[in-house]
């Protein structure tokens, strides 16, 4: 089994490569990156005019299996990932049951092995049932395949529990990922606290709800020496604090989602639950700060927080609708549109944000096209014109605010372990 991807512009920040070349993959691993490569039995893909990059990693998705298969399955989510140009995804533990034990972790690993078309790496829970009280079986989950721990969806509110969790994470050399939200401050809010929340009579979530937990956790990260990662950062104050902590040598990092750098609370359609997520779409100032932090390197990775919910759950009164939107299939296009076409970052930086960036946090052993590396490749175009039709999504859910959007640039083909798993039709 071999495949040669010909004449693309190969961008591999890990090996400081940026040139037109062929990529040859033999038996699931990169055999070489050079001009005029060929192999007698290799399948040939012509990537002329396209970008050929190491397989993109989405370090934050919700695949909903086990327990919420009406919203997504490991199979359907992995197909959406492939169609979005991702070859690896890390799935959050808020399933039913919560992934807080080696049994559930093993189940996900096994289901992924049989059903998924991309690599699936489970993230284990920090606390049992993600209830924020008693630590989960972190070491056993790591042995079963967990690559990080997080109670994503809910924060660990108790500072003492968080401190202990950070100490355990450090013992097992796992990153600990926090959904930063002080639940007392966010108290039942449905959108960012802003002029529109007041206008529409919706309860607001102040930016301070995120900021106070980021501040607390950075102090705890200093205390414990843990590798601490902030999921979906969305406020300018949180970014300033992460920047400060990194400059002072703390092992902390953060990710940003495409919706937080593409939209602000001013872009919301009133009472449209496809704009309802946590953290909420923030102010224009916060959005600009996220873009700047991506350009400056404070943000290590772009992650989608792909959060499928079936139509029946999103077709309710706004305050009853669950939080979250799907994002795997629009991530590259939104990143090109908001970051590259606007000249905020280079294409090389974009590729970093989807490869070496998440790899530096999660240590999956991926994210490069160096010889011998896993044969995961993302092929995308910066110019292709296409329209996102959410009804054609590979996800089981349809909750996206980007339905009908016309994009310039997007994924073209996805190769996992040397096998073409998706190609734009």
């Amino acid at each position: 089994m071999s495949i040669v991807i010909k004449n693309g512009r190969v961008i591999d920040p890990a090996s400081q490569t940026d040139r037109v070349a062929d990529v040859l993959i033999v038996d699931g691993r990169v055999a070489g990156v050079a001009p005029n490569l060929s192999s007698p039995k290799a399948e040939v893909f012509d990537a002329t005019g396209m970008i050929v990059a190491p397989g993109f990693i989405d370090m934050h998705v919700h695949l909903r299996e086990p327990g919420f298969e009406h919203a997504e399955t490991i199979e359907s989510g992995s197909r959406a990932a492939a169609a979005g140009g991702f070859t690896s995804v890390c799935c959050m533990p808020n399933t039913k049951p919560v992934n807080d034990s080696a049994t559930v972790t093993s189940y996900i690993v096994e289901r992924a092995r049989r059903k998924a078309v991309v690599n699936v790496f489970p993230i284990g829970a920090i606390t049992k049932g993600s209830a924020g009280e008693e630590l989960a079986a972190i070491g056993a989950m790591k042995e079963a395949g967990a690559v990080a721990i997080s109670d994503d969806g809910v924060p660990v509110m108790n500072a003492r529990v968080m401190r202990r969790a950070m100490e355990f994470a450090r013992s097992y050399d796992l990153p600990i990922i926090q959904h930063c939200e002080d639940l007392n401050l966010s108290g039942g809010g449905d959108m960012n606290e802003c002029a529109n929340s007041v206008r529409w009579g919706l309860r607001g979530i102040p930016a301070a709800a995120e900021d106070v937990m980021v501040a607390r956790d950075l102090l705890l990260a200093e205390l414990t020496g843990a590798r601490y990662h902030i999921a979906h950062i969305s406020t300018h104050n949180a970014i300033a604090m992460v920047d400060y902590a990194r400059k002072h040598g703390l092992a902390v990092s953060c990710e940003a989602t495409p919706h937080h750098f593409a939209l602000s609370d001013r872009d919301m359609a009133p009472y449209d639950s496809n704009y309802k997520m946590k953290p909420p779409l923030r102010s224009a100032r916060d959005r600009a700060a996220v873009v700047e932090a991506i350009a400056a390197g404070t943000v290590s990775a772009i992650a989608t927080d792909h959060a499928p919910h079936p139509g029946s759950e999103k077709m309710q009164e706004f305050e009853r609708c669950p939080f979250g939107i799907i994002g795997l299939e629009t991530a590259i296009a939104l990143s090109l549109q908001e970051l590259v076409h606007t000249a905020k970052i280079s294409l090389n930086r974009l590729v970093e944000l989807f490869t070496t960036g998440p790899e530096s946090v999660m240590r999956l052993g991926r994210g490069t096209l160096a010889p011998g590396a896993m044969g995961d490749v993302t092929i995308f175009s910066t110019e292709l014109s296409w329209t996102y039709d959410v009804n054609q999504s590979h996800s089981r859910s349809r909750n996206s605010p980007f339905d009908g959007k016309i994009f310039r640039g997007g994924p073209v083909a996805t190769v996992v372990g040397g096998e073409m798993v998706w190609q734009r039709g």
Partner: protein, 302 residues
């Protein structure tokens, strides 16, 4: 989306003036011995109330009947609502019975807006969460105009729990469109600073004396501190700092009127003396409620 009445914000000045003028036509009918017209004969109106409300529901029901329409009222308890049926399913069921309009009260802001996107039947918002209560603002404007030639240049103080008040929001939108100077007043925890951006001409203050100073109209809001589930303001202190008392009225214009959407809490947001004060127009508001709702029903269905 079908044309109903979801809020004041979307209306322009001409549309509001037309409703208020039509309501004036309907005022004399309220005191006639025979109060019934046949403007909407054969039409069917469903009042769907997901929140208890005696006065608004009754007011809409009477307005419909005085126009000759049939009105059916459904309250949340004792219907499929309490059997776990979703809002969309309930409304689809009702819409299939082909009413000419659905009057709806719901505790969730935006609930009627969400439904209007999915239903062919015109929806009249009778109060959605903490968002809007358009007919209340219309009847308030009608009540002011019964005592003033114009809204232009008036100074109106709205006092109380502004943060959670749909009455305040609808009134701000309406009054602002007519060049009224609006002062919103309450404790800071119930007066988010973003309210100043709600519409042109809005000012905020936490001082009730400043709010009342030189006012033509004082609108008091119902305060339900016990329903807020949080320490937004100590209930025991509310009347002392934000309750309206007779001595406050000396600060306002000599002919200033006092309004309240009801039901009033004597001794909570206003003293008993103020409630019974000669320039308190609270019962006129109730009476105008029917005339205004007749005008709205006629506009939406007629």
């Amino acid at each position: 989306m079908s044309a109903g009445l979801l809020g004041i914000e979307e209306l322009d000045r001409t549309e509001i003036e037309a409703i208020l003028a039509r309501a004036k036509d309907f005022q004399p009918i309220q005191s006639q011995t025979v109060k019934k017209l046949d403007t909407l004969r054969g039409k069917m109106i469903v009042n769907l109330f997901y929140e208890a409300s005696t006065r608004t529901r009754t007011s809409f029901e009477i307005a419909a009947k005085r126009l000759g329409a049939d009105a059916v009222s459904i309250t949340a308890s004792g219907s499929s609502v309490s059997k776990g049926e979703s809002l969309v399913d309930t409304l689809n069921t009702l819409a299939a019975m082909r009413p000419d309009a659905i009057v709806m009260r719901h505790a969730a802001s935006g609930a009627p807006h969400f439904l209007a996107r999915h239903l062919p039947t015109p929806i009249i918002n009778a109060g959605d969460g903490t968002h809007e209560h358009p007919t209340q603002a219309l009847l308030d404007a009608r009540t002011i105009l019964d005592r003033r030639d114009s809204l232009e240049g008036l100074r109106v103080a709205i006092i109380g729990d502004i943060a959670h008040s749909r009455v305040a929001r609808s009134n701000v939108h309406l009054l602002s469109k007519f060049g009224v100077e609006i002062v919103l007043c309450g404790p800071a925890s119930l007066l988010p600073v973003e309210l100043a951006q709600l519409a042109p001409g809005v000012r905020l203050t936490t001082d009730i004396r400043e709010a009342i100073g030189d006012a033509d109209v004082i609108m008091m809001l119902r305060v339900q501190l016990e329903r807020q589930h949080e320490a937004a303001f100590p209930a025991s202190e509310y009347f002392r700092f934000y309750g309206l008392r007779l001595e406050h009225l000396d600060l306002a214009k000599p002919d200033a009127i006092v309004m309240h959407p009801g039901p009033i809490n004597r001794g909570r947001e206003l003293s008993s003396e103020v409630a019974d004060f000669q320039r308190s127009v609270i019962l006129n508001q109730v009476e105008n409620g029917i005339a205004v709702r007749m005008a709205v029903l006629e506009k939406v269905i007629g």
